[in-house]
Amino acid sequence: MNDMQFTDRAVDQKETKIAAQGVNVHYGDAHAIKDVNVEIEDKTVTAFIGPSGCGKSTFLRCLNRMNDTIDICNVTGNILLDNEDIYDKRVDPVQLRAKVGMVFQKPNPFPKTIYDNVAYGPRIHGLAKNKADLDEIVEKALRRGAIWDEVKDRLDKPGTGLSGGQQQRLCIARAVATEPEVLLMDEPCSALDPIATAQVEELIDELRTRYSVVIVTHSMQQAARVSQKTAFFHLGTLVEFGHTGQIFTNPEDPRTESYITGRIG
């Protein structure tokens, strides 16, 4: 574990952004998530770790109701965002997803120009009053996505022409452009090379100042590097949740210890 280093960061108590209470998820007959309770803090990076198929991605997709698009998926329990139940009947997932943005495993820029990729969210949500306004939003988002300098001269080129790492940062910029409060990232670096990964990780750390970031990752090193809080999932249950340093150095549950020492996973 020598390659793991914990950045010395202040882990002062912050207000709760998302609170999940007794969440169960069924895929048809399969019980994918079993009674998960977790509180995700604002302006913090929370990492979900665990072996493949443990339900961490499924749980992440519950947080912005992306599971709604799958017919056989059934979610019960409460998930509160700023004390409002996002599974309330009155909530429109469309509005929810503007507040809870998502970045996916594989970079998925639309087959449009770089500019249109970023402007897509603001356009559909009607965030810009005019063209100048939109230009400003796009620039700001690309800057926050730490990709502005690389693409500012080719905003009218297709986003698919960028390298993998650039594409993923473009997708992050695209998610940021709608001014979300929470950013969900589903293994954002699994398709990237080490250099691109480092750039994205650095970016995630910067994003922490504005957003609550939840990241699902396969790599324990990555969780250790970028997150302040870590949740360990195993077979659909949340085994342990706590400060990253504590989870990695002094886990309470033997299953967590087995996983981080490489015995399961």
Binding site: N64, M66, T69, R97, M102, F104, Y120, I124, H125, L184
Partner: protein, 490 residues
């Protein structure tokens, strides 16, 4: 038909070859199949194939070459100065064939003996009147040269037939004898048979190419003949279509092309929105239950023969439109005179193309990766925003390809326009008027009594070739676009 009997006897001989070949192999191994190099049936097959295939091949080639050969020899007999102004050698040749057929007919019916037919002399017999007497009508008087040519034609055909039978029989028997003699327990029958089968497989595969060559050549030569009789510039750039069987026709493709494109345009106007929306709904919104009944039901529309659509246009949609836009109709206007119109044919063809467009688009929309949709939905886009702004633009090239394929279908469609579009060639923008199309004219120029030496008939081949080139071009382009599109997401 003696050729039929020839084929039947070949088959019988070949079957016998199988039995004898197998027997001989077995007896050379003294009844012990293990002694043989190959399984016993391979020896039988070897004899059967060696008997049958060269003979059949020779028969096929002979049947193809003989007409060409005789045509050449006989047309050489007609002196050039005899070909009248405005006519052509091929016109004279069709007369020759007509006379020869007439003589054959007379001999078959016992009116003439074979010798009499060969000895007939134009100087002392009125051949035209004679043939008319037995029911063979001729367009012109028979000159001595034509009669002689016809007699030669007959004679050569007969000799050819005999020669062919002899050749085929000799080949079959020789094949039989040779392969039978070869049969021995050490003979590698399986390898030989497999080689033979392989060449048959290759031949079958190359038939596809032969068909294409056949299509192109059959239309190409007649088109050349057409351009000898008719000005090519008038065909491609003229503005009037007015065939006149007394000659001096104006035969231009442009008015027909206009009608064709107009009908196709209306068909696409119906089929593309309906088909596309149906595909979007089925692939993006519908649940499994809806999909599993709506999709096959829609596809029934594609399986209905075009004659049904033609009848539907002629007897249902046409009268319905007249009842709406015609005299004394529902709207009280008098815009439509008859049931056939561009709109009639276009709408019905559109209905036919709905499942074509929807199933192609369905495939194409499904090829757009789910990650695209997730990306858009994750940003808070609604489903329709995702479809309109992400999925459809991503699928656009494929959809364009599908529409081009549908257009090529529409352009080549025959029965619906023959029955629903009308017969008047004109440039008009009014969809309630009847207009005609390329396929309709091909049908009307080539049905009934046709004279393959007049430009009015030959123009159909030029039209056919144009149609072929047009649809082929569209198809190649569309398939290319669709393939490129698929590669992008693979």
């Amino acid at each position: 038909m003696p050729t039929l009997w020839l084929v039947v006897s070949l088959l019988v001989l070949s079957a016998a070859g199988f039995v004898f070949g197998r027997q001989r192999a077995m007896s050379s191994a003294e009844g012990n199949a293990k002694e043989l190099h190959s399984l016993p049936s391979y020896y039988g097959h070897n004899v059967a194939f060696t008997t049958l295939i060269p003979a059949l091949g020779a028969l096929a080639i002979w049947l193809l070459v003989q007409p060409m050969f005789i045509e050449n020899r006989v047309s050489g007999m007609i002196p050039a100065e005899l070909v009248p102004e405005g006519s052509s050698l091929s016109l004279m040749m069709s007369d020759v064939r007509r006379v020869a057929d007439g003589l054959d007919f007379a001999v078959d019916n016992g009116v003439l003996s074979g010798a009499e037919a060969s000895a007939m002399d134009a100087a002392n017999t009125d051949v035209r009147a004679f043939l008319a007497g037995i029911g063979v009508a001729l367009g012109a008087e028979v000159s001595p040269e034509i009669l002689v040519a016809a007699q030669t034609y007959r004679q050569m055909s007969n000799t050819g037939g005999i020669l062919m039978t002899v050749l085929v029989a000799v080949l079959a028997l020789a094949g039989f004898a040779w392969s039978y003699m070869q049969t021995h327990k050490d003979f590698r029958a399986r390898n030989v048979v497999e080689k033979g089968v392989m060449s048959l497989l290759i031949f079958a595969a190359s038939l596809a190419i032969l068909t294409t060559i056949g299509i192109v050549l059959s239309m190409f030569f007649e088109t050349i003949n057409f351009f000898k009789l008719h000005n090519a510039a008038d065909f491609f750039f003229g503005s009037t279509w007015a065939p006149n069987f007394r000659g001096d026709s104006e035969l231009s493709i442009l008015p027909l092309l206009w009608g064709t494109l107009y009908v196709s345009f209306i068909a696409l106007l119906v089929a593309v929105p309906v088909g596309l929306f149906a595909a979007v709904y089925l692939s993006e919104y519908a649940n499994n239950t809806v999909r599993s009944f709506a999709k096959p039901l829609l596809e029934i529309l594609a399986g209905i023969p075009t004659i049904v659509y033609g009848l539907f246009a002629l007897l249902t949609v046409g009268p319905l439109l007249v009842g709406t836009f015609g005299k004394g109709g529902f709207l009280g206007v008098e815009w439509m005179a008859g049931a056939t119109s561009v709109l009639t044919a276009g709408v019905v063809m559109g209905i036919m193309l709905i499942p074509f467009v929807s199933s192609l688009s369905d495939d194409i929309i499904n090829a757009v990766p789910q990650a695209m949709r997730d990306g858009s939905l994750g940003l808070g886009a609604t489903k329709s925003e995702t479809i309109r702004q992400v999925v459809l633009p991503a699928a656009l090239p494929g959809i364009v390809g599908a529409v081009l394929l549908a257009a090529s279908r529409a352009i080549g469609e025959t029965m619906i326009v023959v029955m629903g579009a009308g017969a008047i060639a004109k440039f008009s923008g009014n969809p309630l008027e009847s207009m005609t199309t390329i396929t309709t004219r091909i049908v009307s120029q080539l049905t009934g009594d046709t004279d393959f030496a007049s430009p009015e008939t030959l123009v159909a081949f030029a039209l056919g070739l144009s149609l072929f080139v047009l649809t082929l071009g569209l198809n190649v382009l569309a398939l290319y676009i669709v393939r490129k599109y698929r590669e992008q997401y693979e």
